[in-house]
């Protein structure tokens, strides 16, 4: 077995009719039972290698309109985010950024991965000390990679930390798309076991079945992501006119994106999530036709208990922000359910859209991060 297994680039749906059927007819029209061909398993194996290599997940994202992001000489914001990463597959993440040069100052300006302490994963330095005449013409692209390593699965927290007025306009964190799979560190299947003319036994398929099951059940999409700017690495008292956080003083639920909106409707602000046919189980059983989204919120409520409600088409779940505790992540105890029978572009209240509401018993509730990710029931 070579150390690297090539991954086919092109997607084609599998139609194994010619090599996978349990009967055939002779020219005289007599039915005869047929065995499987090895090529059917070979097709499954190469397709799975493609799925393992070339379906990158997007783990986090953040966008700021340049007019708001360009904070001049004072801002070195830290952005916190979370995502679920149960699929341990040696996968390197790539952080891509659109950035603006700083207006003044000396020394290296850059961004880096922040996992609770400084790391060596960072952008190259950018030391333009000129006043930007045009926020768009001066836009630059940068990136760095984050090695997955042996980090345990579950909900991981990372951060994007900026230094010396490095101004991030947009940030996206995505799996590295691979051309081939390293047999030392990635999941793969060996299509060469299914040689033409070889005996076809069930254990040839077991490797495909087991690794596809892991991919299909663990490698699922993120649903939504928002992260606040923490100026100089500390949470600020949020303002509605910048990205320092979301704040409410309402004692009844209001939509985080428009506090005049108090109820979910077909068009109220929220996140549209694809779910059609993406669940697990027999589609003939209605109870199976759901897909879960797990939600988490980062915030604090200095004076009174805060509540965050995530409302989907079928149910809603609430998160309690402990009064007078520090800034922390709070996970929903149960899942928001999406309906896997609803089309992606359904425009009614049945659309798979998740609205987020918040309220507080006394004082203010501050939110600094919101993340949700798909999980199979």
């Amino acid at each position: 077995m070579p150390p690297y297994v090539p991954a086919p680039y092109f997607q084609s749906f599998l139609d194994l009719a010619s090599v996978c059927k349990n009967w055939t007819q002779t020219p005289a029209g007599t039915d005869r039972r047929m065995a499987n061909h090895a090529s059917a398993i070979r097709n499954l194996a190469t397709t799975l290698n493609r799925l393992l290599a070339r379906y990158p997940r997007t783990m986090a994202w953040m966008a700021t309109q340049p007019a708001y992001a360009y904070n001049g000489a004072t801002a070195n914001p830290l952005y916190y985010y979370r995502y679920r990463d149960n699929w341990v597959n040696g996968r390197t993440l790539v952080a891509r950024l659109l950035v603006l040069p700083r207006e003044s100052g000396t020394g290296d300006a850059y961004a880096e991965n922040y996992g609770g302490s400084a790391s060596n994963e960072e952008t190259s330095v950018m030391n333009w000390t000129v006043t930007s005449a045009n926020l768009f013409r001066d836009l630059r692209q940068a990136q760095f990679t984050i090695e997955r390593g042996a980090a345990s699965g579950g909900a991981l927290q990372r951060g994007l930390s900026t230094y010396n007025n490095y101004t991030v306009i947009d940030f996206v964190l995505q799996d590295q798309a691979l051309s081939d799979l390293d047999t030392a560190s990635h999941d793969y299947v060996d299509p060469n076991l299914a040689k033409a003319g070889a005996e076809v036994l069930a254990d040839l398929l077991e490797d495909v079945r087991a690794k596809f099951h892991t991919l299909r059940t663990e490698n699922l999409s993120q649903a939504f992501c928002w992260m606040a700017q923490w100026p100089a690495g500390s949470p600020a008292t949020p303002s509605s006119s910048d990205q320092t956080g979301l704040v409410t003083t309402s004692s009844t639920y209001v939509n985080i994106l428009d506090q005049t909106v108090t109820a979910r409707s077909a068009t109220s602000p929220g996140f549209c999530c694809p779910a059609y046919a993406a669940g697990r189980g027999n589609v003939a059983i209605s109870a199976n036709q759901i897909l879960n989204v797990m939600a988490t919120a980062q915030g604090q409520a200095p004076s009174g208990t805060g509540m965050v409600k995530f409302e989907g088409p079928l149910n809603s779940v609430e998160v309690t922000i402990t009064a007078a505790a520090g800034v922390a992540w709070y996970d929903a105890a149960s899942a928001i359910q999406l309906d896997t029978t609803v089309d992606d572009d359904d425009a009614t209240t049945a659309r798979n859209k998740i609205d987020i509401f918040f309220k507080v018993a006394a004082g203010s509730l501050y939110l600094y991060g919101l993340n949700g990710w798909y999980q199979l029931p």
């Binding site: 194994l16 997007t58 996206v172 079945r209 999409s221 994106l257 694809p274």
Partner: protein, 178 residues
């Protein structure tokens, strides 16, 4: 066996895939359908599920098409030819604002005052309008245009009608269903 792709995933049993056991057509058929389902539906990872807070704003004045928000490049899996998007938006003042979502094969970085002549030979666009002060969601699709690499650079422009201004609250983008 025809191509099937809109069945939910039913994990194939391990009972008949042990060493030296017979291999039924059914097991292969289930796995093929499950992989098709992953490519067509379940494996469509969101490229964005993005709230804008503060809301994305069209220009404070002017009636020319203007670059509003550029996005960092994302990898689109090969074979994905169309993206589905949902944009939450509303009109703040005036009569109408036209939004355009672009996909380009490299970064547009020329100017805030949008110049379509600077678009690369290959780009795609989808447009919608904000004409109401109440929240609305645009459900649309946009063709994927890629160069020799796997990346696309999305960006959004806005064009105000006279004395108009509008806002975007959310943007969700992911591969369209096959």
């Amino acid at each position: 066996m025809a191509v099937t792709k809109n069945d939910q995933y039913c994990p194939p049993s391990t009972l008949e895939t042990a060493a030296d056991d017979g291999l039924s057509v059914r097991t292969i058929r289930e796995l093929a359908a499950a992989m098709n389902n992953y490519m067509a539906w379940a494996g469509r990872h969101k490229l964005r599920g993005q709230p804008f807070m503060p809301h994305l704003e069209s220009p404070a004045s002017g009636t020319t098409e203007t670059l509003v928000q550029p996005f960092a490049p994302v990898v689109i899996p090969d074979g994905v030819n169309t993206l589905q998007f949902h944009a939450g938006h509303y009109l703040g003042t005036g009569t109408s604002v036209t939004w355009k979502l672009y996909l380009m094969e490299w970064m547009y970085w020329l100017d805030e005052a949008f110049d379509s002549a600077a678009l690369s030979p290959s780009y795609s666009t989808a447009l919608w309008s904000s004409t109401s002060g109440t929240h609305d969601i645009e459900d649309g699709t946009i063709a994927v245009v890629k160069g020799v690499h796997d990346y696309v650079w999305p960006f959004i422009t806005a064009e105000n009608a006279a004395s108009s201004r509008a806002y975007i609250t959310t943007l969700d983008i992911y591969p369209a269903a096959a």
